[in-house]
Structures are given as C-alpha cells and as structure tokens.
Amino acid sequence: MKQKTILSVFLFLVVFFPLMAPLGAEPDKLTPLKDNLFSIDFVSETHGWAVGYWGSILHTVNGGENWALQDSGTEKVLTSVDFVDENQGWAVGYGPTILHTADGGKTWTQQDTAEDVFLTSVCFMDAKKGWVVGEWGTVLYTEDGGATWSMQSAGVDAVLYDVAFADALNGWAVGEFGTISATVDGGKTWTPQASGVENVFFSCHAVDTQNVWITGIDAIVLHTRDGGVTWEQVDTGIGKVIPFYEIEFRNEQRGVLCGQGAVLYTDDGGATWRPSLTDTPMDYIWLYGVGFSPLKGSWMVGEKGAIFKSVNDGKGWQAVQY
C-alpha cells in the first residue's frame, strides 16, 4: 500500500516534468514606421492628408494633433496629394499610381491610366477637373474626377515634377532641364516657356494668372509677374547651393520655400526671404512638401516622416511628428 502511494506520488511528479518547455515570446507591438513624406494638403483647419514612401497616407482630423495611417493598398511611392473637400481626394506616384478616395481616405481605389510612367504631381480644380504630370513630359487630364484620364502632351521630353493652376484655364508644369510648360486653355495645348536656365525645377506655384513662382536644384528660385513671358531669378540670400523642393504661397505676400536642410519664408511677396525658426535642427534633413490650410495653418513634410506646423505662415515651425 505504502509503495503504491509513493509510486503514485512519483508518477504525479513525473507528469510535471515535461512541462520544462521555454515560455513563448510575447507578441510584438507594432511600431509605426516613419517613412519619407513628400506632399501635404489641408482642406480645412482640421482635416489634412500627407503622402509619401511605400504608399503611406497619413490623415488627421484634429489639426495635426494625431495622425492615422490610411490603407492605400500599394507599396509604391506616393509623391503628391490633392483634396478638394473632406471626402474627395487624389494621390499619385510611381507605378503608375493614381489613387482616388470619395470618403476622406477610408477607402482608396486605383484609377486606370494607360501611361506607364512615374507620376509626380496632381492638381485638381474641383471634384471633376484635374491634372497629373510625370515622366517623359506626361500630362494627364480628367474632367470626370478621374474615371477617365486623357493624355495631354507638354511638348517636352523631360520628367515633369510639378503642376499648378491659377484657375481652370491657366496652368504651369515644370521639370528637368529648366522646363516650363504653360497652358492658357485648361491644358488642351501646352507651350514651352523660356526659363533661361537648365536647372531641374521641382516645384511651381501660381498665385494668380500672372504671378507664378518656380524653384528647384541649386537653390534656384524664378518668378514671373507676366504669366511667364519673362522669368527672373530671385536671390533668396541663402548663400549655399542646395535643392529647394517646394514653394507655396498663401497669398500674394506670404510664402514658404523649403528644401535640403533649409526653410525660408517671405511676407513681402518674395522681395526678401528669411530663414524660418524651427524647434528641431534641420541641417541634415530635407523638407519636401508645404501646404496651407484655408485660414491660418501652414504645414510642411519631409524626411523620415517629419511633419511641421506653423501658425504664422512659416515664420516659426514646430515639429508635430518627427
């Protein structure tokens, strides 16, 4: 009887022995990746979108306090975003990729285009009419919100990096080799304009049909006051040869210029440019996209998910996410 007892105890203990197995690892917590951002667009003081590397689309509904990642369904680079209201928006990029949302970005769908090119910039005048530019002088145009895209040739064999319209008829597209192409008929015909330089242009902004700004590599800034008949170089006084990636104006007087390790602002229509104050060192990062919300917010995005906000039209910037 006693022996049976001890044997039972032993067997009970032996049963425990196989429990000697290492505990499994804890499930990983996901860390959001800070991808490069190239473009930002706000349709109100609260609602904005930013797009960038690996198909990333960030969205805020509270003026940039929080940003949520939207599912773009692509791993391709998205280089430009444009929303016409809180629901309707487009993003373009490598692939070619044209994404459209009609519900503020909850769902994004790919729009078809026959052109197999890298699309770099998008500009919509309203929910129907918009333009996209890209490699090989490509200009795509839609009048039905992107359901169909038709080809418009800029008449150049260069990568176009930006397109901007002052109204439904007057627009400019800029890119490699000092290319400026302009339209006065809503894109039906594009006419090259003489920039006088061969620099690569990364960005253009049309304040109105006459007043247009262009910027690009080697810290170049061009300005026209006559709709592009003549372009003049503007000295920003930066004193170094860096690329400027974006120029944007809130109105005729107030504008922002950003690039490799530098942000400048003007409040006198571009007569003088001054370095912005930032709460984060920017010497070795690049800033690529600038956007203004309708009333007072200014936004800037760049390397490794950097998002900055300004409440004084670019005079001072605070890192929102960096």
């Binding site: 001890i6 203990l13 429990l19 499994g24 990746l33 590599i217 690329p243 070795y284 690529y288």
Partner: protein
C-alpha cells in the same frame, strides 16, 4: 563488518607495488604526454551544430559575407566631435591596421575612412558625383568637414551606423576569420587601445573575437582560483580526518585523475575552451570525493581488522565496488549522452569525459586503497574516533552530532512526514519554476562577464551611441540560380520589405540593415538630380543593373563584396540587433516565419532566400540544438540512473527512491538558473548533465551502508539508520564539502561571471544532493522500510 573480500580485490592488493607503478608512473606518464599536446584554444566552428542548416549556410557564405566573427570598434571623441583632422587620422590608422591584419577579411571591413565608403551627389542635368568620404584626402578645412558631415548625415548607410548621429564617434566594423589565435588578436586590439587612446579619444570594442580575448586574459586568475580551491579542499580534508594521510591520499588521487583526464582530452583532440575549465575541476573533485569515501571505508575496515592493512584495503575495495561502479556509471551516462548534441565540441567532451570517469573508477577503486595500504597506518585519536562510530549515544564529533540529529528528525513521528512533505512541496515548486529557464544568453552583452566588466561597458556604449548598428547581427541570404539574379528588383524589394517588417515588429531591439537595396535606392535618387522621391528600388531590372554598373565604374574591385558576389549570384542582408538574448532570438525566429509566410521564399527563375547567418544565426542554431539535446540528456540520464539503481538492488522501488531526490536536485538547479538568469548554453549543458549524475553517488553510499547495517543489527531500522548517520552520512559530508566550498568560493573570486555562477550553481546542486542524502533518504527508508534493503526471515 564486510564479508571476505572478493578474489580480484585480494589479487590487486597482493600485487600492489607493480600496480601502483603501472598506474602512478607508466600510465600517468603516458597521460602527461597527452596533457602536453592538449589545446586550450577556442575553435568557434567546433561550437556550432554541424548538421544545422544555418551552420551549413555559414560555411557556404561565411568567407563571402562574414558574420560570426564580427568585431565592432567605436572610436569615441571624448572632447568635441570627430570632425577634426587629428581624430580622423586616428580612425584611418585603426581602420588600416584592421584591413592589413592577416586574420581579417579585408574587403569586409567597413569604416568611413575606407575608399569604398563613398558619397553620392546628384547635380542638375543628371550628373552624379561619387567619391570616397575620407579618400583620398582626409578632410582638413571647415569647408571640407561641412561637406563630409552633409555626406554622412544624409546617407542612411552611414548615419547612425558608421558615424553616430551626434557626431561624437565613428564605428569600424571588422570581420575576422575563424580558427585563429584569439590571444594574438586580443593583444592586437589592446595594442590599438594603447596606441590611439588619449585624453581626447577612447576605444570601445566588442564582438566574439574580443570577448574570447577577454576570457583568455583571465587565465592567470583562473589558475589562482583553482589553486585556492585546492587549498580549501586540503584544509577541509585535514580538518575532517586530522591525519595527513586523509588529506594526501584523496588529493594525490585527484591529481593523478586530473592528469589522466586532461591527457585523454589531449589525445581525443578536444579544444578546451577556457569557459569549460570548470569541467575538469568538477571531474577532478568527483575523483576526490570518491577517494575520500574509499579512504574512510578503509580506515573503518582497518579498525575492525585491528590494523591489518592488506585485508582492510581489499575489503574496502570489495565493499565499495557496487556503489562506486554505479556512481561512476551514472556520471558516465551523464557525460556520454552529451554526444547526442550534434556539436563537435560536445561530442569530443562526451567521449573524453566518459573515458575519464572510467579512469576515476579505476583510480578511486584501486589506486586509493592501494595508497592507503602502502601508507603508514594512522594511530591514536583518529583510530579511536573511527572505533566509536558504532556508538550512537554520548559525546560526538560536530559532524556526527549534526548527522545524528538530522536522522532523528527524519525518522521521528512528526518529522518523518514533515520531511517528505517539505521535499514534495519543493519539488512541485521547482517543476513550475523550471519552465522559466532560458535557453541561450538571457541578458544583453555577454553573460560570461560581469555587468561592470570593460566588455559589457563597451557593449552598452556602442549600443547607446550607434542607434542603427548593433553588436549582434543576423543575416538572410539569397542564393541566385543565375548570374545577376541578386540585382533583380524583386529580390531587393523583398529584402527591403523584410527590413520594414523588422522595424515595425522589433523596433526595440532592431537597429537597421546593410543591404544592396540601400545602395540601389541611394543611386536611384542621386541619378535623378538628388530628388528624394526617386529614393526607391525601381521596378525595372535594367535600371538597377545600369545604376550598379555606374557605381562599379567608380569603384575598385571588392567594393560591393559586402553585399554580393562579383557576378551577383548571391546577396544578403546584414541586420543589426541590440542583443542576442533568448527572447530576441525567439522573436526573430517568429518574425522570419511570419514574414516568409506572406512573402515567397523562392522566386521563380531567380533563386531563394535562406535563413540564416551572422552571430545571431549561429546562436539560434546552437540554442535550438541545446534545447533539443537538453531534454534528451535529462531524459536519458534519469532513465539510465533508474535502470542502474533498479538493477543494482534488483528493485524498481530502489530506482524510484534514488531518482526522486536526483530529479529534485536537478530541478532546483534549473530554479537557480532561472533566478540567476543563467541560460542553458553550450557551456552550461555539460555542467548540468554531470550534476544529474553527482547526486546518485551519495544515495548509493547511504543505501549500501544501510543494507550492511541491517544485517548486522538484525533488522533494527532505527539502530541501522543511526549508525549509517555516523558512518556513511559522515562520508557524504566529507565528500561533499570539499567540493561545495571551493565551488562556492569561486563566486566571490572570479572575474568571469559565468565561472562564478557555475561555481555557485554546482555548490547549490551538491548541497542539495547532500541534504537529500542526509535527510530525505533516511526519512523515505524509515517510512517504506524497503525489502531490497532488508528482508526479514519468516
């Protein structure tokens, strides 16, 4: 006492002088030669499981991409930053010294001063400028430093990897060959420190070659510790026996056994790592313990036989044959099952230590009693105390007093159940706790050294300073089936996707990667006027090829060797991690599985991804092998012990009773390991295995004595147990303490944390085994009164 000695024992004693000559002179001389050819080098490859797919990959790609012997050297500016000519000259000097070192894979060396570390800048019109960051000229003017900073801080391949984000340190990554003289390499590293360190510069070095060098540097200290341990043993033996023979005979036996054992290691060709020095010491101590038991038994027989040394020696031999042989068999079982590990070093150890244990049986079973026989007999007080061993009342020696008290407690009315219950609770607790024993290194840095060691300080410093590099690396390979396969965008994008996956899932320990796709991304950007939107791997294979062609046209042969072979068949990604703890390794394993569940491992027409290499790859292979072997070793040893004990006493119950405390002792060892954060590694496995075997020796000794005493005392359990407490239990204490105390002493003396912890571990294990023999066995025997010990005549 014992019945007549067996014939073989009588014959051995009769021919004692020739036998002593053969054992002490001829065989010992032969083994001394073995000692002289023994290698104490570390051969890393011997420590890897040879059949493991990761190890096979390491063999295939190791010389191409390095990985297992990576060394990181941080050159730190203690004042200001690194951007001054004098400091950069130092970085170049150290880099060059490594590049030109005979044991380095020169082309795999990475440093900002290397020619292959280029900056790329795109200018208007598609012009791309590409040149060395610090080559051919080391920057010397403010303008040049500014240019250099821009090039470093805007390139993800350098920023946070080869130069710290705060600009105060540069990192040099070296890859070294295996099977080299690590002592020489360590001297080389120390030479660099001596030459380049001053009030503005400090050097911090980590990696396997550095670690091994540090371990070797403690060699003189190890010798001192072993000498102190032997001194403690001698002092204890003198204290116990109070006669010089009691000290000299066991020590002599242990020394001869050590010569034999080390000689066997020499003949087998084991490369004895300094970390495994604990093992010979432990086995030597086992010889000492067995020898003490034999000597004690000899003196008991001498007392009974009134000074007849010849008969006393042969009777002692005969009496301890079964317990001695059984104990040795147990140890042999413990060691031999280490052969199951498919690791060359473990297999070599399994063979040599098994033979060594057999040698110990010969030495303690024959050599010790013969020495006792030829040494002068002790007289006076000592023999009087031996004579009084059968008296269980009256005034006693301290050890006897404690043993008798413990036995009384164990067989008392309440005490008996109390003891059994206590041990049962302890057992259940240990089983639960045992599940937490980590496999592999449980802490960041090296668990072999103390946290405040120079090495671990450097480890923390490098991890702190270089956010995107890490001391421990993991490699995933791609083996292409045709030329240029590794340049294909599909191949490169999968590597990038893997990097993103790791950054998302393991951001706390993942630093970053070094892979061909990083180069392609950077090239794509710079070829498009430096425009960041182009910084991606393009879809077109032709574009990737042309960009890499451009890079190569500006390079010298070998510049891309870190990323791919010259014909772009194979490529890899080198991922940096902050540690190689078990948890990190488990997470990496899970992440890789999950990643390749959703991303094809085989790319049609291109090739396949292969896991894994690098320090962590090899660590994973070893951990998997150890984890598998660890369970097998325990299962087989316990089965062997059970079978052997059951056969020795022809009783299943005997097997159970002897195995339970053993199981408990083993589990408690694991409990200690989990508390002390000692992982099960290639270094601890043999210690753990031999620990399983040590305990049974004490139990066998108690049981054999009980069997004898029950006959003499005609079935009086209490009287027999009390006499056993004064005789066999004393033998257990005398055997155990000279092993326990020196082991414990290591904890306070060793600069090697591993050695200190192993010492404490063994001390805990042996203490528990001793207590089980002194308390649990008497309690169980008294409770069960097993028939294999005494069967009353009806």
């Amino acid at each position: 006492m014992t019945p007549e000695a067996p014939v073989w024992a009588k014959a051995a004693v009769r021919f004692r002088w020739p036998l002593l000559f053969i054992i002490g002179v001829v065989l010992t001389g032969l083994f001394l030669y073995g000692v002289s050819i023994m290698s104490v080098n570390v051969v890393l490859e011997d420590m890897f499981p040879f059949g493991h797919p990761f190890v096979k990959l390491h063999k295939e790609f190791g010389s191409q991409f390095g990985g297992a012997s990576t060394t990181l050297i941080e050159v730190k500016a203690t004042k200001g930053d690194i951007f001054n000519n004098a400091f950069l000259q130092k970085v170049k000097g150290i880099t060059d010294a490594i590049v030109f070192h005979d044991d380095a894979y020169s082309l795999l060396t990475a440093s900002i001063s290397e020619r292959k570390m280029k900056y790329m800048r795109g200018y208007s019109g598609g012009r791309v400028e590409m040149d060395g960051i610090m080559w051919p000229k080391i920057p010397d003017t403010e303008k040049e430093f500014k240019f250099m900073k821009e090039n470093l801080y805007t390139n993800p391949l350098y920023n946070g990897v080869l130069v710290s984000e705060d600009g105060t340190a540069a990192l040099i990554i070296g890859e070294f060959k295996e099977g080299i003289d690590y002592k020489n390499l360590f001297n080389f590293f120390m030479g660099l420190k001596e030459k380049y360190e001053d009030e503005t510069t400090s050097l911090h070095m980590i990696g396997k070659p550095v670690l091994l060098g540090w371990i070797y540097s403690y060699w003189p200290e190890m010798m001192v510790i072993f000498a102190v341990s032997i001194g403690i043993m001698m002092a204890l033996l003198l204290l116990f026996f109070r006669i010089w023979q009691g000290m000299v005979i066991p020590i002599l036996t242990a020394l001869v056994s050590s010569v034999w054992g080390l000689g066997i290691l020499g003949f087998v060709g084991v490369n004895l790592s300094p970390l495994l020095f604990v093992l010979p010491f432990l086995v030597g101590a086992r010889a000492l313990g067995q020898s003490v038991q034999m000597a004690q038994r000899y003196y008991e027989e001498l007392d009974v036989l009134q000074g007849n040394r010849v008969d006393a020696a042969s009777r002692a031999m005969g009496a301890l044959f079964i317990p001695g042989f059984s104990a040795v068999l147990t140890d042999m079982a413990g060691f031999s099952v280490c052969y199951l590990a498919k690791i060359l070093l473990m297999q070599q150890l399994a063979i040599s230590l098994t033979i060594w244990m057999l040698a110990i049986f010969v030495l303690t079973g024959i050599f010790t009693p013969l020495l006792c026989c030829v040494f002068p007999s002790p007289k006076g007080k000592f023999m009087k105390s031996v004579h009084e061993e059968h008296e269980v009342t009256g005034k006693h020696h301290l050890v006897d007093g404690i043993n008798l008290w413990l036995t009384r407690l164990a067989i008392g009315k309440k005490g008996n159940w109390g003891v059994i219950a206590t041990f049962t609770i302890l057992y259940v607790f240990s089983v639960i706790q045992t599940t937490r024993v980590p496999v592999g290194d449980p802490t960041a840095g090296s668990p072999i050294l103390w946290p405040d060691s120079v090495y671990n300080g450097d480890y923390a410093e490098i991890n702190r300073t270089f956010k995107k590099a890490g001391a421990d690396n993991y490699m995933v390979f791609f083996r292409g089936i045709e030329e240029f396969a590794s340049k294909d965008p599909k191949v490169l994008k999968t590597f990038e996707r893997l990097d993103r996956y790791m950054r998302a899932h393991m951001a706390d320990v993942y630093g970053g990667d070094s892979c061909l796709y990083n180069v392609v991304r950077k090239l794509n950007k710079e070829m498009h006027d430096g425009n960041p939107i182009w910084e991606f791997v393009p879809d077109e294979e032709a574009l990737c090829t042309s960009m890499l062609f451009l890079f190569q046209s500006k390079s010298v042969p070998g510049d891309l060797d870190r990323y791919a072979d010259p014909r772009f068949y194979n490529t890899n990604t080198l991922m940096f991690f902050k540690d190689h703890t078990e948890e990190t390794i488990d997470r990496i394993r899970a992440s890789m599985t999950n990643f390749f569940d959703t991303n094809p491992k085989v790319l049609d027409g291109l090739g396949e991804y292969l896991l894994a290499g690098g320090v962590i790859g090899m660590e994973t292979a070893v951990n998997e092998e150890i984890a598998m072997t660890h369970t097998k070793v325990n299962a087989y040893v316990l089965t062997a012990v059970f079978t052997m004990c059951a056969l020795a006493y022809r009783s299943l119950l005997a097997g159970f009773i002897l195995i339970v405390p053993l199981l408990l002792a083993t589990l408690l060892t694991f409990v200690y390991m989990s508390f002390a954060q000692i992982g099960m590694t290639i270094n601890t496995l043999p210690v753990s295995a031999v620990g399983v075997g040590v305990g049974v020796n004490f139990g066998l000794y108690i049981f054999s004595r009980m069997k004898e005493e029950m006959k003499i005392n005609e079935g009086n359990w209490t009287q027999s147990l009390m006499i056993t407490a004064r005789t066999a239990s004393k033998g257990v204490v005398y055997t155990a303490l000279p092993m326990i105390l020196p082991c414990m002493a290591w904890y306070g003396m060793s600069s090697l944390k591993f050695q200190a912890q192993m010492g404490l571990l063994l001390g805990v294990l042996l203490t528990f085994n001793m207590l089980a023999a002194l308390i649990l066995h008497p309690a169980v025997i008294y409770r069960l009164k097993p028939k294999f010990i005494y069967k009353p005549n009806k």
